[in-house]
């Protein structure tokens, strides 16, 4: 295959990437407008801090990116199969609890402790992913409903279990105690941050997922099911097993996210992150949906979108130095997410713009009736359907298809 700019711009990855950039750009512009409205005199310096502030806190950017990359993968991976795993929060919380439990209650050899904690987090998330998957596969219960319920069940269960455990819970401070040092994930060595090696583990996991999706028959089946469930049944794929397996993997990913977040050392020597049982659903689970959307559910895209959202959050925290409330930055992030939903539409609009120009060009060299092979006729993309009432729909939905068929040079 020739490698030229045309091929690159035509590729799917490129259009996802440009649409993500477009979404971010529009979100930032809107965020800037919000900042001008809120406090015009500080807006420029505040916006500058929002954009560049993250650079001075790179360690924190990595630390906070880790859990949302994991929940992003949990949502994105399930989404590849056409499942909407809105239960990443519950799976994440269960992962935190399992990791904390092993961290406090087990006394394994020093070096293996934190690894066991991570594995416990993985197991916790897997269990919480298995349940909606099981109900979906065998009883055809919509996974959105079950996983939302299990967000609440998981959160209240964990809060209850932690508040009732004297070893883990410090009632005077209304939070968990500090984890023993052996249970904490080794630091990356960046000063004054919680950044730890789990960030690298997360990236490796994302790459493994990418390979699974692209190179294995499990990934092939998974994507086929996501694209066209009927065809996957027709091809004899075991849909039930795949649904359960996908949800277990997705749950495990979110559970790892929870473990990575809670097992981190803090900047104060000897202390660690703590969990506060305050009956609030973990926001990182929902941030995962945004990360997955912005990353087009592609594991590699999710690494970057997770880092980006973490980066902009750090910048936003710093922008409060100029008198901006943290809510402003939440609005900016929300807008970016909002636009990322439009991003797909935008990329289609751009594609259509280019295609229309291309078609006009072809028209001038169109072949006359009588020549060429009629079998080639693209009766698929011709907006002629049996039912004229649906034709307009056909025309719009099919217009995003490449027109290579008609546009092919007749050799």
């Amino acid at each position: 295959m020739r490698l030229n700019i045309k091929n690159i711009t035509k590729s799917k990855g490129f259009s996802s990437f440009t649409s993500a950039l477009l979404a971010i750009g529009l979100g930032l512009i809107f965020g800037f407008i919000v900042m001008i409205v809120a406090s015009p005199e500080n807006s420029l310096s505040g916006f500058q801090m929002l954009l560049l502030g993250g650079l001075s806190r790179l360690g924190d950017v990595f630390y906070y990116a880790t859990p949302i990359i994991m929940t992003g993968l949990a949502v994105g991976f399930a989404f590849k199969m056409g499942l909407f795993n809105i239960g990443a929060s519950g799976q994440y919380t269960m992962g935190m609890y399992f990791a904390l439990y092993v961290g406090f209650m087990w006394k394994p050899p020093e070096g293996a402790h934190w690894i066991l904690c991570i594995l416990a987090g993985l197991a916790g998330g897997m269990i919480w992913g298995f349940i909606p998957g099981f109900f979906k596969a065998l009883l055809n219960v919509n996974e959105v409903i079950t996983s939302i319920m299990f967000n609440y069940i998981g959160m209240y269960l964990v809060d209850m279990l932690i508040s009732g455990n004297a070893t883990m819970y410090v009632s005077t401070k209304a939070r968990t105690a500090y984890l023993p040092a052996s249970a904490q994930i080794p630091s990356l060595g960046i000063q004054n941050t919680s950044a730890n090696i789990s960030f690298i583990i997360a990236i490796i996991i994302a790459i493994i997922l990418f390979i699974i999706l692209q190179k294995t028959i499990f990934g092939y089946e998974l994507k086929a099911t996501g694209y066209n469930k009927h065809a996957s049944i027709y091809a004899g794929m075991n849909g039930k097993r795949n649904i359960i397996l996908t949800m277990v993997i997705a749950g495990g990913l979110a559970g790892l996210g929870g473990a990575f977040y809670i097992l981190a050392p803090t900047t104060i020597p000897g202390s660690s992150m703590t969990y506060e049982p305050i009956n609030v659903i973990a926001a990182n689970g929902f941030n995962g949906i945004a990360v997955a959307l912005l990353g087009s559910s592609n594991p590699i895209g999710i690494i970057f979108s997770g880092i980006f959202i973490s980066y902009i959050q750090r910048g936003g925290t710093l922008a409060s130095l100029f008198g901006y409330k943290p809510e402003i930055i939440d609005i900016v992030i929300a807008v970016i997410i909002y636009f990322s939903a439009f991003a797909m539409l935008m990329s289609l609009a751009i594609a259509r713009f280019f295609k229309n120009r291309k078609v006009k060009h072809i028209d001038t060299e169109d072949i006359a009736p009588g020549s060429g092979d009629p079998v080639e006729e693209s009766n698929e993309i011709t907006p002629e359907s049996d039912d004229p009432a649906t034709e307009s729909q056909v025309a719009t939905t099919e217009s995003d298809m490449p027109v290579e068929e008609t546009g092919r040079e007749e050799a």
């Binding site: 190179k215 092939y220 065809a231 049944i233 009629p374 290579e404 008609t406």
Partner: protein, 511 residues
């Protein structure tokens, strides 16, 4: 001043990515039956939708009796006396025939319906044109042929004088087709003008006065039917010569490959069985065709045979192995290939590439995977071989996204995949649906080649030409039962039609 009641002059309509109508001119004389011929995607429906006001042309004008008119919606078309029978009927299923006919133009006084008046007018019209209907029957209870009459009466009730028929014969039995032709001739004698969209040449030769042929959105020309032949029309339609006969040498049928006994499948729509006590055999080296009108249990039967649905009774034996309860993969391994009825729903993953679709039934075989990893080099090689061997055309070869391919080539890809897979039985359900003549010819050749290679072929088709030309043996399915077994060499289309409509049956011998 003008001979023409309707003129569509230099109509151009462009959709994003495609020019559906390119400078097309169509002139309809008063009192003629004018056929509009073209393959799928040639732009027939688009052109008629423009005339009926569903679309606006980008360029060109429409004239009625020489005067330029603007048709922005179907109401405008109605006001100009233009009526249309759509291919898929636009009827309210739970309303009666009468209620459907007056829908939209209800005769009323101060908002109160004047049903008596309406009934009289409908009865008068149905008498005049020989369109017998029961005005009080519910639409859902009457046959498709009857429903079409209701659609025609709707146009007459609105006093339309230009009648558009969009592929009206696709859903009818041969007898009903003959009746429709008579009705159309009746309209012509009354001075009404008819536009008749079709791709069936026999019907055009039988009933039309003139014919306009479209090809790839362009107008090839308008011809007088009395000065032309079927062969010439088909050449105009596809741009080359096409043979109508399927070449087939006689071969002896071999061992029984598929044996179905007392198969019963429940219906999802009503309490009766969709398939009732069906038994037959298919032998190696023969093409057995299940004929019948759409909706007589063929879809349910095939679902049960291929494992998509569970039968409620009976047995299916493939190559001596009972597969009644086997899952789809097991059936596939046991030697069943399946060209599904709906290629977009079942046959292809449209967002996958051509090579990924080519291995859809075989990706798990050792040739294509090693410890769960796809052997992409082998997949590519395999796809390239199939593309080459079966002449599947696409823009980028193996890496073309299938969604961007034409319908004919999508179907060729499925056929390549299913025929190349190791199989003893090929189940082909409407393999030529929606395809142009060139592709149909190709697919028929492939089916015959499969049979000549000693495989059993089970074909389900609603196209009578296909049933008669391709098959070695015909089983007619009516209301979920096999009502007749016919030899295509010894039967006629008319006889076949009698079986299909349930008017005749012979008992299938038990093997």
């Amino acid at each position: 001043m003008s001979d023409y009641i309707i003129e569509m002059l230099n109509i151009t309509k462009e959709f994003p990515g495609i020019i559906a109508n390119d400078n097309i001119t169509l002139r309809l004389r008063k009192g003629e039956i004018h056929a509009l011929l073209g393959e799928n995607g040639a732009g027939k429906s688009t052109l008629m939708s423009i005339l009926f006001g569903l679309y606006q042309a980008d360029k060109g004008e429409i004239r009625k009796n020489g005067k330029t008119v603007k048709i922005s919606n179907p109401n405008d078309a109605n006001a100009l006396g233009i009526g249309m029978v759509h291919q898929h009927f636009k009827l309210v299923e739970v309303f009666t025939v009468l209620e459907n006919i007056i829908l939209g133009v209800e005769p009323n006084k101060l908002g109160f319906l004047k049903m008596k008046e309406a009934r009289e007018k409908v009865l008068e019209l149905s008498e005049k044109y020989g369109l017998k209907v029961n005005p009080d029957a519910l639409i859902e209870k009457i046959s498709v042929g009857m429903q079409q009459r209701v659609e025609i009466l709707k146009m007459l009730f609105r006093d339309n004088e230009i009648l558009i028929f969009d592929e009206p014969t696709a859903v009818l039995t041969p007898q009903e087709i003959d009746e429709l032709m008579d009705i159309m001739r009746g309209f012509k004698n009354e001075g009404k003008s008819i536009l008749f969209i079709t791709h069936k040449l026999n019907e055009i030769m039988a009933v039309a006065d003139r014919c306009t042929v479209l090809w790839k959105g362009k107008c090839v020309g308008t011809v007088d039917i009395k000065d032309t032949t079927k062969e010439e029309l088909s050449r105009m339609m596809v741009g080359r010569d096409v043979s109508f006969e399927v070449e087939k040498k006689d071969i002896e049928a071999g061992d029984v490959v598929l044996s179905v006994r007392n198969l019963t499948v429940p219906s999802k729509h009503h309490k009766k069985n969709a398939v009732n006590n069906v038994s037959f055999d298919v032998r190696a080296g023969e093409i057995v065709c299940i004929a019948g009108i759409d909706g007589n249990g063929q879809t349910e039967f095939i679902s049960a045979l291929t494992g998509l649905e569970k039968p409620s009774g009976g047995t299916i034996t493939l190559c001596g192995r009972n597969i009644t309860k086997a899952n789809i993969r097991t059936r596939s391994k046991a030697g069943m290939s399946h060209i599904p009825e709906d290629r977009h729903k079942h046959g292809l993953v449209l967002d996958y590439t051509l090579e990924e679709n080519m291995v859809l039934q075989r990706y798990w075989e050792p040739e294509f995977q090693n410890k769960g990893f796809i052997r992409s080099r082998n997949v590519r090689k395999y796809a390239e071989r199939l593309i080459d061997q079966y002449d599947v055309r696409s823009a980028q070869g193996p890496v073309t996204v299938v969604r961007s391919m034409s319908g004919g080539n999508q179907q060729k890809a499925i056929i390549a995949r299913e025929i190349d897979k190791k199989h003893e039985l090929l189940v082909a359900v409407q393999p030529t649906r929606g395809l142009d003549i060139g592709a149909i010819e190709y697919i028929h050749k492939q089916l015959v080649a499969t049979r000549d290679a000693g495989k059993a072929v089970l074909l389900v088709s609603f196209e009578l030409d296909e049933v008669m030309n391709v098959s070695d043996r015909i089983l007619v399915m009516y209301e979920g039962e096999i009502v007749g077994e016919l030899d295509p060499k010894k039967t006629t289309v008319q006889e076949l039609g009698l079986y299909m409509s349930g008017a005749k049956r012979n008992v299938v011998k038990e093997n």
